[in-house]
Symmetry: C2
Subunit: 495 residues, 2 copies
């Protein structure tokens, strides 16, 4: 038995504990070893680091935050420690690395081991790489989806239909969810929307909503918000929804990779966990978007449809224009401001963001039978222009614990600089990836107030010296850094 | 500027440092971030963990052992800290994950970043997986080899020829190096042998030699030992020889994978780092060995020959019998005892180990022109039987700082149990992998005194109840564990 010593260290990652050299030697444990720790009925697996200083006396186990949170317990509590052999999933990961197909049990074992932190960072990374290099079959994708759902919590709301929406991404500023959710919730639909934070983009929907309301909402609270208002926009990471997926995404993020099979499983697991009956999927297509061609879009559409069919979920897929940013703001606060402008029916609202949101909301209203074919967008516009959508967002914000304000009060980065046109002409193209790079250089997504505000879109006329966009940052260093990139390549093609 | 606080924690892995929450916030740093730390002219990259307890006061940087060793410095020394962007190799790793070929510069950048610990565990793991899934081309293998050599130290001894030997492994007990090195060094050859510790086997040559002498020998000492005695048997990990390779092997080990391209580069880098002019390569072939067929052996032979040719190294490849363990002992101490028995010309010496060692030594003597074609093994036998080989081993042991003793004094595990034949008959086969599994269950390779001692080999006659082999362990638990495995499947086929 060892006593817990709370170290107060966050690693953000794998479960690490400390043992004094003497305790480790007594148990024949070395650094990097895997041990099982038991406290009453709870048990976790963690990796050992060895202390040979006074940092930790003999008889104690030094716990970092992540294992302590999982195991529970306080300073001085007794725990039992025993060596743990390698989990079975290691063999399955090797199998996948070897290019072989996994069966349902193998996949669910891997997912359970990942979600319970029984795999080291190395092992989990190898699984992600293996699935990236040796593509997952449709069976594997469906099993992976189911396993991810089972590894986490599921929403318990007894309503039909339950609507969800998703965009495969790649288009900066494209924050339609902030507008579509209040519109369709105002129409009486149930839409328990959980979103992600930015992975490779300047802002995720969760980051954007967070400008207006807390998104770190528990499952119980989420259920209460949805029961009261019909909708919500929260961070999926806050509830234990497909927890294995978040760990997989973390690995993908560090390498900037995006494996199709895992992406399908990841998206569908989150939808299935909220028990969505109807899913609207937006696939933006454009040369610098995630999906570059109609052919690739069609392939993805079929894949999503097949997974949805096997899960018993209805799906409707919409192809949209992914050739340039949607809306004017890029970055959480700037995108939140755009959404508020649309919902508050401001004359300054970006029309492209408004029209796309109405189209998507209309598709959903038709899909679930709330509007006749071809009449959905009309109904959506009525709901928006009447102010009902904004009132619904206010309800949702309040239910999530936020407070509302007009779009003019949204706080932006305090350092600002305009990037102007090097020549006169017409904007031929705006490169999504360049815009993303500049916004990130300015501090997005970590700094919610950093980003870009576009004054021009494709086909706009512009005179030499006119401002194409402003960069917002919260430090002069970051502003300088972003400006330097923008001056090398503004991302705009003018001719 | 922050002050160093020595934490006294060994992680065995990536470079981790601690910052107080306040210092981290001031610098906009989060857990998992990469930072550059500078102390006078030294600089390292490390990953941030955040402390929010009294463990670390504001103004301090908590250093674990690995970064402290690289950076140097003591408690209270001042260091500068700045955010570090992702290294370029991340993009190259993604390229390889995508199945594309890397060029020489990309490979050398990745290797430098791995050897300098600039990559996280996740990133390094993805590189290893990518090279495993998307095989390396011959060009990539050669560049990887060169980059590994350049990332580390090289031996500076002005002699010709310099001989090296390598076995691709997979056969338990096969500790011929312990015998071949003293024979050929006694013949006047220079053989600066660096070996690995066990990765997936019950013992490596370095583990075995360590029973007799320290193997944790610096480059300067190694050069001195070789200059004095002509040979050495040390642990490659102790000298900074192709350091990136050790990190790659660590990842491979955790998943039990062995990528051919990386293996070629790994072996050849270590040979090239000691400036070997002649390499003898032993490829054991057997159904439960690493190389299972003659076809696979021929493929491997050609690959090795091609890499050697491009590096300007002469190579001779020998195919040997890998169908069963070589020698009687399996496990470091038991294998060291076998080697001593052969070198001390004991009547109990395992003849298969002796004969194979003589064959290999003979091949080398012919290869470098010290013996005529077909006469090498004869010369080797003379050197062995005259006691010159043993005296050379004694010289080497003493030069490395060990002391010699007769094979009877080799200390073995204090718990022992025999596994007996379930029927009478003739031994048809012995499964290498099963023997390995049982020896590891008994505590090998971590416990040098654990392992197996075989009383029977293939084609031996055996009566029901006679002992096939003994298991040695240092705890009754481990003995029981290994015995349970052996009783389910002894690894022997008798008919």
């Amino acid at each position: 038995m060892l006593k817990i010593r709370v170290m107060g260290v966050t690693t953000g990652g794998p479960l690490i504990i400390l043992l004094s050299r003497r305790d480790a030697e007594k148990r024949d444990l070395h650094f990097g070893d895997r041990i099982l720790i038991r406290r009453s009925r709870k048990r976790i697996t963690a990796i050992v680091d060895i202390v040979h200083s006074k940092l930790l006396p003999t008889g104690y186990i030094g716990m970092f935050d992540e294992p302590l949170k999982k195991l529970g317990g306080r300073e001085g509590d007794l725990v039992e420690v025993s060596p743990e052999s390698k989990p079975a999933s290691i063999g399955y990961i090797k199998k996948k690395l070897d290019g072989k197909r996994l069966n349902e049990k193998e996949i669910s074992t891997i997912v359970a081991d990942i979600s319970e932190d029984r795999l080291s960072e190395t092992e989990a990374s190898c699984f992600v790489s293996a699935c990236y290099c040796n593509r997952l079959s449709m069976n594997e994708i469906v099993w992976l989806t189911r396993a991810m759902v089972e590894s986490g919590e599921v929403l318990r709301i007894n309503r039909t239909p339950i609507v969800d929406l998703h965009c495969v991404g790649g288009v900066p500023g494209n924050r339609t969810t902030m507008i579509v959710v209040p519109i369709i919730a105002a129409a009486g639909l149930t839409v328990p929307k959980t979103s992600s934070r930015a992975i490779t983009s300047p802002a995720g929907t969760a980051d954007t909503m967070e400008v207006l309301a807390p998104v770190d909402v528990s499952m119980r609270k989420l259920e209460a918000v949805v029961k009261r208002t019909g909708g919500c926009i929260t961070w999926g990471g806050a509830i234990n929804l497909a927890p294995a997926d978040d760990k997989i995404i973390r690995v993908e993020h560090s390498l900037n990779i995006d494996a199709e099979g895992q992406m399908l499983a990841s998206v569908m697991a989150k939808k299935h966990s909220v028990r969505a009956s109807h899913l609207l999927l937006d696939i933006p297509i454009g040369p610098n978007s995630k999906v570059c061609s109609r052919k690739a879009g069609l392939h993805l559409k079929r894949q999503f449809e097949e997974v949805a069919r096997r899960l018993g979920m209805r799906i409707r897929v919409v192809f949209s224009d992914g050739s340039q940013p949607i809306g004017n703001g890029i970055g959480a606060a700037l995108e939140a401001r755009d959404s508020l402008m649309v919902l508050q029916n401001s004359g300054d609202a970006p029309p492209d963001l408004r029209e796309k949101s109405l189209m998507l909301a209309g598709q959903i209203l038709e899909f679930v039978g709330h509007a006749k074919h071809g009449k959905g967008a009309l109904l959506a516009r009525e709901i928006l222009e009447s102010g009902r959508a904004y009132r619904k967002l206010v309800q949702i914000i309040k239910a999530q614990g936020g407070r509302t304000f007009t779009y003019k009060r949204v706080k932006l980065g305090s350092f600002k600089r305009g990037i102007s046109a090097a020549r006169s002409g017409r904007v031929k193209a705006i490169n999504n990836q360049t815009m993303t790079r500049i916004a990130k250089a300015a501090g997005a997504p970590r700094d919610a107030e950093a980003g870009l505000y576009l004054f021009r879109h494709v086909n706009s006329k512009v005179n030499k010296g006119e401002t194409l966009y402003s960069i917002y940052a919260n430090s002069s260093d970051k502003l300088r850094f972003a400006t330097r990139i923008a001056r090398t390549d503004s991302g705009f093609v003018i001719s």
